[in-house]
Symmetry: C2
Subunit: 333 residues, 2 copies
């Protein structure tokens, strides 16, 4: 295992210190338990939004803390759920009197701990709503999941809900919008290579020299099948067909395409993939109104990609376009 780290058990804290040193204008970091908090939180009268999950998926979630997106993020150890007390402290830190939204990816540990945190917060008279993301069409139940895994749509939910909260929508309105974004989003991913968690020091799975895994999870969970690697056009089709058929997406639909890299995939390849995805979308009569391309929800240094398709309505588009200023996403600020 070769990594730019000091020690396996120091990665998360060291990386958070780097974030804190780099972005004091946007965030502050609290250690033990670890929380990345928007610099000016709590924002009075604004719905607070928090998310969290295992580390190793950067920039998600800490990189999305700031104006127009998250108020706090709870990073667990690598690929390990954060703890209920961590989430509870984050909830208290961002409560500006208008309630707090928890955005929870559907993994058993995350769901259980966010549920406990919500109960704890409610016992302290903080109003909490939770929205689950479960957009991965690859498999139904998975290694760490009952039901579908929460993946790429989480980034879109955080941006759109963040815009609505910044606009002083109520907790009920923000939660309804976030729920709708998740319901209208579908994703699927694939891997060229596994990743190595610092603690284990060994690959999360093995793949042949000419093999890819279609439907991979962001922790290396098994996908639908393996096959010999084909051209980008074939890989795009393998991911797009299950996505388009699932919702289903229909001719005339306006969509956002999120072409995500798994962490070790260079941008030149993501644009090759985006070109293929755009062609397939066109064949289905889908109108791509917005897009996001880059490494946003990753799996350490895994090579591969995922596609998220979101069926847009006017409110989603409006808040997607709203200003945002975070370490990893910025516009209009």
């Amino acid at each position: 295992m070769k990594k730019l780290i000091n020690a396996p058990d120091a990665v998360v804290a060291d990386s958070l210190r780097g974030m804190e040193a780099a972005h004091p204008d946007l965030i502050r970091v609290q250690y033990g338990p670890n929380i990345v908090i928007r610099k000016d939180a709590p924002v009075s009268g604004k719905v607070g939004i928090i998310s969290g999950g295992g580390s190793g998926h950067e920039p998600m979630h800490g990189g999305f803390v700031g104006m127009g997106m998250l108020d706090a993020a709870c990073p667990g150890e690598v690929f390990t759920s954060p703890t209920p007390d961590q989430m509870q402290e984050a909830t208290k830190a961002v409560d500006g009197g208008a309630g707090v939204l928890h955005i929870v990816k559907n993994y058993t540990g995350d769901v259980m701990n966010f549920d406990m945190a919500a109960e704890l917060a409610k016992s302290e008279d903080i109003e909490v709503e939770s929205v689950l993301t479960n957009d991965d069409v690859a498999v139904e139940d998975s290694l760490y999941t009952a039901g579908r895994r929460g993946v790429g749509v989480t980034v879109l939910v955080e941006k759109i809900a963040g815009g609505a909260a910044e606009d002083r929508k109520s907790l009920r309105e923000v939660a309804e919008l976030a729920t709708r974004v998740n319901a209208n989003g579908r994703s699927m991913g694939m891997a060229l290579t596994p990743c190595i968690t610092p603690a284990s020091g060994s690959p999360s799975f093995e793949l042949g020299d000419d093999e890819v895994e279609i439907g991979i999870g962001i922790h290396g969970e098994p996908g639908r099948f393996r096959e010999k690697i084909g051209p980008a056009s074939q890989i795009a089709e393998r991911l797009m067909t299950p996505i388009v058929e699932d919702l289903p997406f229909n001719s005339g639909d306006k969509v956002l395409v999120f072409m995500n890299g798994m962490g070790g995939t260079p941008l030149i390849e993501l644009y090759v993939m985006y070109d293929e995805v755009a062609k397939i979308a066109q064949e289905h009569g889908l109108s791509i109104e917005r897009n996001l391309i880059g490494n946003f929800i990753t799996s350490l240094e895994m090579q591969g990609c995922s596609i998220t398709l979101l069926k847009l309505d006017d409110e989603m588009t409006h808040y997607w376009d709203a200003p945002v200023h975070t370490p990893a996403l910025r516009k209009g600020a």
Copy 2:
């Protein structure tokens, strides 16, 4: 070789089509020869700025085309210089009557071809100034270079010169500022793994399972030495010491730190490295006024990083902070 591509000889054009499909609000792409052009170029009365070089370093340069940065980029084949006619066409396409600046990384082919393009443009009465970047302190002459290689500072030159051009500074003023940024910037990189060019299908060099190469070039050119991988703190020191001693950077200097990933390095590791770099900068009494962290000048899927330190003056800081709206860098727009 496993890559998200259709065919080795189609990578560059396919990727450009993806960029064109993704960012029609910012850029247009011309094919054969390939040029990425700012949507509204030429901008009347503004100095046009172009750069270019081999592909495989994305988002550099095409991802930096747009308001506040480049007017056009000339992507060559992977790790191959663009052609003089490509550069000449780009020069003509962005000439708004105030002259054109060529930003040229110091590699023999790039320098020779940009020289020819400048001559051709002058023969058509377009005023051209050229600024060479040569900030890599690792080695003097290299595989494709007489003198020092041009690396990370190129991104900073493009942003700062772009801001000055947007502010309607004259060609002479923009060229002087760009020259000063290069003169005040120093870089050094390292690799954990080689990369594989699509055309060759084999690694650009071999490294042992526990080895790193210190001083690597962005095309896998040899560095200063190899050693057994150490902690991030040691790697940061290996890169920072030669950088700081070279200019030299002195206690009290205001600097910009650019912590760059080589393409396959996840963000969590770049922040671990940034934390170490910030500590070393502090030991030297340097005041980090600005930073940039991410994969901006890459070497395909290579794992590793580079550090660029820029000694800032007020004008550089002013134009670093100026609005920019490109596919890969955005603020205030």
